[in-house]
Amino acid sequence: MRREIPILITIVIGWVMVMDFFFPPVSSVATRMRDWTLILIAISQMLGVANVARINLDKVSRKHPDAPYAMVLLLAIVLMIAFGVFLPKSATIGGLTWGGHEGGSVFDKVYNQMYVPMQGTMFSLLAFFIASAAYRAFKIRSPEATILGVTAVIIMIGQVPIGSLLWDGMPGLSAWIMNVPNLAAKRAILIGAALGAIATGMKVILGLERNYVGGE
């Protein structure tokens, strides 16, 4: 019964979500189930944070080489949760709002001045790596690679102002590529992926797909 009950739950919930589209009377049941789903998702994400903390606590207790960094991580988690969750919004000390999560609070300040720049910078590293990859790995060895390379160059020039300075038809050519051949291929991928997603969804709500419940 360890696998059968969760599979039965999946089947029931899945069919309620599908039937909600076709039979209005099911709507109130489906709405309630969706309300429960959003609570479960929130809890599962919070448990994910607890798991991250547990793994890093483990590194500290085992004196792993990364233990000092793990302590930084744990301290960051503790401080963010202390500011955002436990300190009341009325905790104003020294002109700063130490509690709460809205604009003007310490939580918000740390987010905007530390987290936001760091995430932006992490993603911006990709600009350097894509340039390095373009130089080292983008080798035009076949007709297919030639088409890919030429198209990429046309799009890169056509989507920025320098394209219209080089040739006034470049933006138009770039637009044609995006709206005709790119569209055709992307539409085929969309349709193929939709068929696959429908098939997988049907397997799940018919109880044929059981990998998510794991072993016995």
Binding site: T37, I41, G103, Q119, A127, A134, Y135
Partner: protein
């Protein structure tokens, strides 16, 4: 190994420096360039322009700080355009690390355009649930968001007393960085309800949304910083996207030059190896 073979195996840190210099110069030195528009941007502009003044607009801002560079200019231009027409904005986000940055942009723009919270716009914050929320919110906004981002009851906000369902709004303006985003809104909401939808998305996602634009599921599309710059030009604001276009152009030219150089060296070195 001769110099051409050494050049083919160039240390990637030198390539990083080349990119840094290429993109830095136009940041510091003014290079004015015209910004021609495109049909999907024109349609985006016209869709908002044709909205009756004072319309309520559904504004899911589904992004996080990782995509702020491309999407913040779009969001600012869209808010400028909508607020010039005195449209009312119901904003929220489905990205868990997004609410802080979305709230900051909204408050900053509201301050610049003299818009009042609760009457001209509301920010409902974040809600977990992705597609589940999309379907749920279409039927009852206050049911999903009983409180706004700062914890105030939604039903106490004047704007939320006029609107509670998606069909109470005239337009969906989605700013999207990926999943969940435009694709899911189109699948779950746009096709079920007859509310037109616009999308401003990152460059990475833009090519896959062209089928939605051609089918009419999206009435307009802004793709990446280029799309943002074209829209800024239409709206008549000179924002970060417009200012960034020369640097963007130089970056693209640098990448193209690197691709060409890499291939020339590959061909030459391959011929030399074959001759030996």
């Amino acid at each position: 190994m001769d110099w051409m073979q050494r050049l083919e195996k160039l240390d990637r840190r030198i390539i990083f420096v080349i990119m840094l210099i290429a993109v830095s110069i136009p940041v510091l030195v003014r290079l004015d360039m015209p910004i021609p528009s495109s049909k999907e941007v024109d349609d985006y502009y016209e869709t908002i322009e044709k909205l009756p003044d004072g319309s309520v607009v559904f504004f899911p801002a589904d992004f996080d700080p990782g995509s702020v560079a491309e999407l913040e200019p779009m969001m600012r231009s869209a808010l400028t355009h909508l607020w010039r027409k005195n449209c009312k904005i119901v904003c929220f986000t489905l990205w868990d690390t997004g609410p802080g940055i979305v709230d900051a942009i909204l408050r900053d723009m509201a301050g610049k355009m003299n818009k009042e919270y609760g009457t001209d716009y509301v920010f409902l914050g974040f809600k977990a649930g992705r597609e589940v929320i999309m379907v749920q919110i279409a039927n009852s906004i206050s049911g999903v968001f009983p409180q706004d981002y700062s914890g105030k009851p939604t039903k106490d906000l004047p704007l939320m007393q006029q609107v509670d369902k998606l069909t109470d709004t005239k337009l969906i303006v989605n700013i999207s960085a990926g999943y969940p985003g435009t694709k899911e809104w189109v699948q779950q909401v746009r096709t079920r309800y007859a509310v037109p939808m616009l999308s401003g998305c990152t460059g990475v996602s833009a090519p896959e949304y062209y089928p939605y634009y051609q089918s009419g599921q999206l009435s307009g599309l802004l793709g990446g910083l280029g799309g943002a710059a074209k829209y800024e030009a239409r709206v008549g604001v000179k924002g970060d996207a417009t200012a960034g276009m020369p640097a963007q152009s130089m970056g693209h030219l640098a990448v193209i030059a690197l691709i060409l150089m890499g291939n020339v060296l590959y061909v030459v070195n391959k011929k030399k190896a074959g001759a030996r």
